[in-house]
């Protein structure tokens, strides 16, 4: 087991370096260098700018620049925003919690709805209720987040006046939990709708597979109750799917709410990403990408390790 974990860990580190190379290359290709900004916004002479470039190491070959960037990254320095003159780490840090609040709640709701429904569909495959649920799942997957968001706002804020239109709090002074919950209802609904179809389908197909296994037939032959068979024997073996699903949702938790956050002006990572792109604030864009990449790798690693624990066959591949 230890060897298996070490191998996965090494693979993750290797992948991380590949991603940093790609991300650095992207930022290198990005139009405009930090110097353009200095040139446009100060009265430095060309010579002074050249000096500044040497100071920043921008006259060095690309690979040298890459390693110095990587060194800073390892120390947790993601650079400084061109627009706000603040550290990118700080900007991401203060919004990450807001995004996690939104994505985590929506994922929880999606799981609570989709897992029982998926199991139910798998127990009676091709029945009327299975057909209905599968159709509903397909419909949910086809809903464009921004349109649903606008539609919800139109009905529940403009017409009925039940829910606030956007943001996290109604005022900066009064930050009550009730107010926050009211603001969360629509974005969370919107995001949960996006997730629910996929989780339902995955749960159904993995449960369907497990239910056709010999040991389930044995359990039934031994006269175990249907509930016992499904919820202890089958569900335990279908758990790997939930683990995979959760591992693959980690990146979504960090950065998956771009459109929804934009629709409801939610102050999270996603809306920061959109603002940074419109203002061409590359350090912030790259910073968010690196943070999401780390989440992706951690997610993959957790899935691999939990898989190794749940299924001994995996360890020896």
């Amino acid at each position: 087991m230890a060897r298996y974990i070490v191998r996965r860990l090494m693979l993750a580190v290797l992948t991380f370096f590949c991603i940093t190379v790609i991300v650095f290359f992207i930022s290198y290709m990005a139009p405009g260098s930090p110097l353009d900004y200095l040139l446009a916004n100060s009265n430095m002479s060309a010579q002074e700018v050249e000096q500044r470039a040497a100071q920043l190491g921008l006259d060095k070959p690309v690979y040298v620049q890459y390693f110095s960037w990587l060194k800073e990254l390892m120390h947790g320095n993601l650079g400084y925003s061109y627009r706000e003159y603040r550290s990118v780490k700080e900007m991401i840090g203060e919004r990450l919690g807001n995004t996690l609040l939104l994505t985590f709640s929506s994922l929880l709701i999606a799981y609570l709805v989709a897992i029982p429904v998926g199991i139910h569909s798998a127990r009676k495959p091709y029945s009327m209720s299975d057909f209905t649920f599968s159709t509903v799942a397909l419909v949910a997957m086809a809903l464009p987040a921004f349109f649903i968001g606008m539609f919800l706002t139109w009905i529940f804020s403009a017409k009925l006046g039940w829910l606030p239109m956007s943001g996290m709090y109604s005022s900066d002074v009064d930050k009550s939990a009730v107010d926050l919950l009211k603001h969360m209802v629509m974005p969370v609904t919107c995001l949960a709708l996006q997730q629910v179809g996929n989780v339902m389908r995955q749960m159904r197909s993995s449960m369907l597979e497990v239910l056709s296994e010999d040991y389930i037939r044995t359990a039934r032959a031994e006269g175990l109750s249907e509930m016992r068979t499904v919820y202890t024997h089958a569900l335990r073996n279908a758990l790997t799917t939930i683990v995979t699903l959760f591992g693959t949702s980690l990146p979504f938790l960090v950065g998956g709410a771009v459109v929804t956050e934009q629709v409801f002006s939610w102050p999270g990572i996603g809306s920061l990403m959109v603002t940074s792109i419109t203002t061409r604030d590359y350090p912030v864009i790259i910073g968010i990408t690196v943070v999401v990449a780390i989440a992706v790798l951690l997610g993959n690693l957790i899935v691999d390790i939990v898989y190794g624990i749940l299924d001994p066959k995996v360890r020896y591949d």
Binding site: I26, A30, L138, G255, V296
Partner: protein
């Protein structure tokens, strides 16, 4: 010589009867058939209606700004006095074209990579499948936005970027079906008589991957259309004056339009949902029809 010709003909007949069977099953799938009809109607409408009705989506100042629907403009006018109905049809056209073209790009990249990973195994498999893992879990919207921010938003850049992002879907599905057949006797016997890798891949392995690729194509087209619409909604996709279902909704972000002029933003949203849903249902029906185990 004649014998070989006979064999060829028989194979053709077998294949025909297989596809006749598949088509028969698909036809009995009511929701899929209904969606196919809907999609055909939408395609015909966006392809021919603009020319038939002489609609112009970019002509400004055709009347008062934000004119409500009336006899001559059934969906009214937008801020610049452009015909909303014309923009709706052209937007639908953009969505379908971007969806199909980008999926085509994904197929061109993904299918060969999946074939190589599954057939040659080894290092090729390790690299390709690891890349698939990473691409599949990376929130695609973030990556697409980063790339758009560098290349710059336009119909073409969006099509190409969404196309590139879609390759892992195809690589994974092809890889799976290659693995399931590459140890079969007929592949081994082809290898034993010394057929080239290219020949084996083309004649013995690829045909098995066609059904899953077809199904993936439909689902991928649907998500590509949604991705383009989301990008355009954020203002990072198709740029005005060109119309896209997403950028029409971008214009409707102001509170007055959202609350007072539903005729302006609801039709493009509904058309988008109609297109994506029909394609998804067609894909679902196709999956059931192509699955030999399913009896409809």
């Amino acid at each position: 010589m004649t014998d070989e010709g006979g064999g060829e003909m028989k194979r053709k007949q077998n294949r025909q009867s297989y596809y006749a069977d598949v088509f028969g099953k698909f036809r009995r799938h009511k929701l899929a058939m209904f969606s196919l009809c809907t999609l055909v109607i939408v395609i015909l409408a966006v392809a021919f209606l603009p020319a038939l009705l002489k609609l112009d989506p970019t002509k400004t100042g055709q009347g008062k700004s934000y004119l409500a629907p009336d006899g001559s403009f059934i969906l009214g006018l937008d801020k610049l006095g452009r015909d909303n109905f014309a923009r709706l049809l052209y937007g639908g056209r953009t969505s379908l074209l971007v969806g199909l073209l980008s999926t085509f790009i994904s197929i061109i990249i993904g299918v060969p990579l999946g074939l190589c990973a599954g057939y040659f195994r080894g290092a090729c498999e390790a690299v390709v499948m690891r890349m698939v893992d990473i691409f599949m879990v990376f929130p695609s919207m973030i990556l697409i936005l980063v790339l758009v921010s560098i290349i710059g938003p336009s119909v073409w850049s969006v099509t190409i970027i969404i196309g590139i992002m879609g390759w892992p879907n195809f690589a994974r599905i092809v890889y799976g079906s290659v693995l399931s057949v590459s140890s079969k006797e007929y592949v081994e016997s082809a290898q034993a008589v010394g057929a080239s890798h290219l020949r084996i891949l083309k004649d013995y392995i690829l045909p098995n991957a066609i059904s899953p690729v077809l199904v993936t194509t439909t689902f991928r087209t649907a998500s590509a259309i949604l991705e383009e619409a989301s990008l355009s909604y954020l203002g990072m996709g198709v740029q005005p004056p060109a119309a896209s279902l997403g950028n029409i909704l971008n214009d409707a972000q102001s509170i007055t339009t959202l609350t007072m002029r539903p005729w302006f933003w609801i039709p493009p949203g509904l058309l988008l949902m109609l297109i994506v849903l029909s394609i998804n249902f067609i894909g679902d029906g196709m999956r059931d029809a192509l699955d030999p185990k399913m009896k409809v």
